[in-house]
Each structure stands twice: as C-alpha cells, then as structure tokens.
C-alpha cells in the first residue's frame, strides 16, 4: 500500500515534537476525521530555522508531516508557502489516492502556522493571499479528487 519512503517517514519521523517558545503554531484537521496536524516554527529573517510537528492520524498523515517539515527546514517563508501537497506526495514516492488528503493537510498546516506568524508580526506574504485560516470544521478529505 505505502511506498518505502512513506514507511520510513512513518517509522522514523523527522522533526517530531514541540517547540516551547515557538514563533508560530498552526493546527489543522479535526479528530472527527481522524487527522490533526500541529506544527511549531522557529523563524528568523523570514527563514524557517526550526520546525516540529505533532500528528494524530494515519501512517500517511505522519509521513506527510515528517516529509513536509523536512522539505521546508531552512527554507524561506515564501518557499515554505510554495510547497504544494503534490510535492509532498511526490517526495514520498506517492500516496494512495485515498490518502492524498494527508498531503493536503501538511500543506495546510504550514500555511496555518505562517498565517499565525504573519498575524503576530503584522506581516504579509504573497503565498498567503486569499488564505483563510481553518475553523476546524472543514472536511479536508473532500479537497482532493480520488
């Protein structure tokens, strides 16, 4: 079902944990759907100095969080915002169709955290244009066509 990459990131997830004095925190998903992703950022000079995640969810949700954090570590905020769910899925050597929503969740967790950062610091980013923070009720599963 899962690629070796997915299994690797599920088994040895990178960047698991919390950042106590995080500059930004984002959380998406809800327990009803069985997926919650929470990301913590340390940001310096509009660059991701550190990122950690906690995820309640299936194997691909955990792997997607892990891969997404790895992909944006050290990147600029604009680069982080540009990360698409497809890129996450591809980096994982693909996800089953029914699991693509997990990669969407990872993309959204990043956006949500950077939105938090922007709010706290009164900043604006191109990549956040039109972005609405999640209310926690939306069904992210619907976002991707199988």
């Amino acid at each position: 079902m899962y690629s070796e990459k997915v299994m690797d990131h599920f088994t040895n997830p990178r960047n698991v944990g919390e950042i106590k004095d995080a500059d930004a925190v984002g959380q998406v998903g809800n327990p009803k759907c069985g997926d919650i992703m929470k990301m913590y950022f340390k940001i310096e000079n509009d660059t991701v100095k550190d990122v950690k995640f906690k995820t309640f969810g299936c194997g691909s949700a955990i792997a997607s969080s892990s891969m997404a954090t790895e992909l944006i570590m050290g990147k600029t905020i604009d680069e982080a915002l540009a990360l698409s769910n497809k890129a996450v899925a591809e980096a994982l050597d693909g996800l089953p169709a029914a699991k693509m929503h997990c990669s969407v969740l990872a993309e959204e967790a990043i956006k949500s955290a950077i939105y938090d950062y922007a709010q706290r610091n009164n900043k604006e980013y191109e990549g956040l244009k039109g972005y609405k923070p999640p209310t926690g009720d939306e069904d992210h599963h619907d976002l991707v066509e199988e």
């Binding site: 327990p31 009803k32 069985g34 919650i36 309640f56 969810g57 299936c58 194997g59 955990i62 069904d139």
Partner: protein, 391 residues
Amino acid sequence: MKVYMDYSATTPVKKEVLDAMIPFFTEQYGNPSSIYQMGQASKKAIDEARDKIAKTFNARQDEIYFTGCGSESDNWAIKGTAHALKHIGNHIITSSVEHHAVLHTCEYLEKQGFEITYLPVDSEGLVSLEDLKNAIKDTTILISIMYANNEIGTIQPIEEIGKIAKEKGILFHTDAVQAYGHIVIDTQALPVDMISVSAHKLYGPKGVGALYLRKGIKIHNLLHGGGQEKGRRAGTENIAGIVGFGKAAEMAYTDIEAHDKKLTTFRNDLTKRIMEAIPYTRLNGHKEKRLCNNVNISFQYVEGEGILLGLDMAGISASSGSACTSGSLDPSHVLLGIGLTHEIAHGSLRLTLGDMTTQEEIDYVVEKLPAIIQRLRDMSPLYEQVKEGNR
C-alpha cells in the same frame, strides 16, 4: 515472530481442508449436472458437504444452499424475502451495527421503496427487545439481526428475537458469518428462518458461502439461471470450495466446547493484560455476550491505522475500525453505533483469535503493543493536551 490476529477478517485454510479439496481441481472435475460417472461423483461430493453443514445446524440437507460468499447469502435472504413478500408489506427491521452486506442491501431496498427500521444498540452493542417489538408494524415482512458482531463480537439475543418474530409471523434472518464455527446454532431449537454463513471465516476457502433456508420458506432467487441447488441458486457449483466448506464446518464443530474454552481463556487474558498495561483504553462490545475470539479496544489519542502499521512492523496482523483502513471517511459505523465519539472510534484495535493462536503469541502482542501505542501518543497533539491537563 509472525502473529496473525485477524481471524475475523479471514482464516487460513486448514491442511485437512485443502487436502479434501485438491482432487476436485485436476482429477474429479466433472460437472455435477452431468450424468456420467465423473459428474455424478461431483454431485455426491456436494451432497456430502451439504450433509456435513446441515449436521452442524441440526438441519435437513435440503435446507442448505451453497452461495458464492457470505455477502451473497445476506443479499439473497434479504432481497429474496423482500421481493417475495412485497405484496404483504414493505417494512424490514434490522440493526444499525449490521455488516455492510446487510446494511447496504437494506439501503438499496430503501431506494426501491421499502421501508427500513435500523434498530439502535446500547453501549455494549445489544439491540433492545422492547425496541424491536415497538418497531414491528402490520407491514413488517422481515427481521434481519446479526448473530454476532464482526467488529466488537457482541452476541445478540437471537432466540428471543426469533420468538418475537415467530409470534408475529414475521420471517427472521440472521447473519451468522462471524458466529458460525464459534457458537452452536441448532435450527431445531432456534426459531430462525434464514442463516447466512461463509466458509473463509472457519478455515474453509474464500468464495463459498451458504444460506440455511428453513424448509417450506419461499423467497425469490437472487441468481437466476441453471437448475443448480434445486433451482434456487444458479451457477456451476464450486465443487472444491463446497467440499472444503463441508470439511471445515465438520472440523469446526467436532469439539466446539474445547475451541470455545481455549479461545475464551486467551481472549480474557489478552484483554486484561492490555488494559492493565496501557492507560486511556476502553473495551468495546459486551463483556460476556461476546465471541470467544474477539478483543476490541480503543486507545485514546491515537489513530488506528498507525497502530496497525506499528503492529505489522512487529509481525502482528490485526485490524481497526479507523476510517483510514476502511477507505471511507467515517470510522466504523459499529463503533459509532455503540456511542463512541469519532475520535475514540478512530483509535480502535481489533484482535481476533483462532485455532492457531498460542499463548506465546498472546504474550508477544502484550509485550509489543504498549510501546507502539506510546510512540504514537508521543506524536499526538491530543495526547500533548492530556499531559498538559487540557483534556
């Protein structure tokens, strides 16, 4: 170590069963409808298998009809009754925790103009006899309540339900796919009219089921065509499969008390030790009215698929009511049916035992599981809240 603990999903075919099947592939392949010797030999083999299965039900040979799977038996019993009796009424009573083979069949009939009552269950998964009585109408033509639940193992009060059905003159079908091989189902004593079973749940091959149809009951066919199964189920008979089913059923009922005793002990041991070792857990299903092989526990703050993957990496095969493993978005309708929240339902684990289960395997699972749960909890933002006192 390899540990299979998903016997309710399917079972291995026993060696004796396979041995009984083998000749019917390459040597004794005659079509049972044919009059030459090889055809008649196939017919005889089917009759013998039918006899064996009839015996397990204390039933007549001509009350057993072979099908292609348990789902077909369910579809046949329910649709066949619905169409045969629609001039009498259009109301069917079932429960909210049935297998999809029953539920989706009922939902389909609903679209065709039938009226379905889905009885709720209590927190342990039992339907209420009062609810059932209250649901019965003049138009009720069928009650279909499963014998034992495939996820949480709860055993319904089949005898009492059957009595109510009989009193009211309503046909009663029970999906006994999970009960068969664990519980003695005596059709002479039990007022049930139709029983669905499936071979691959009791060490027979996949792709064979049966319907017990009480003598005299007339329902419509589901598969029309040739005159097989006394004209009630078309299709060239899966002889090897049927022979295997017969053998498997015979073996399952040869010493069912010992089977029950052994698995019950294992089940209780496994349940107790997991619950003791891991906090924030909940046993799903009824404590006593429960299949001897079923353990179903929810682990709060984690999601079931992760548990399964963790177990799989440790060589343990199990299943979960999590949405992620079913391919649907919602977690198990059974777990929601007994009142679990989505969140807790997602974190369920089903371990089902079988004839090859050993104490060593039980010990191994008890040894491995805590760390698997702990690792996932350590990754879980929900568990973080718990530790922080916010949950």
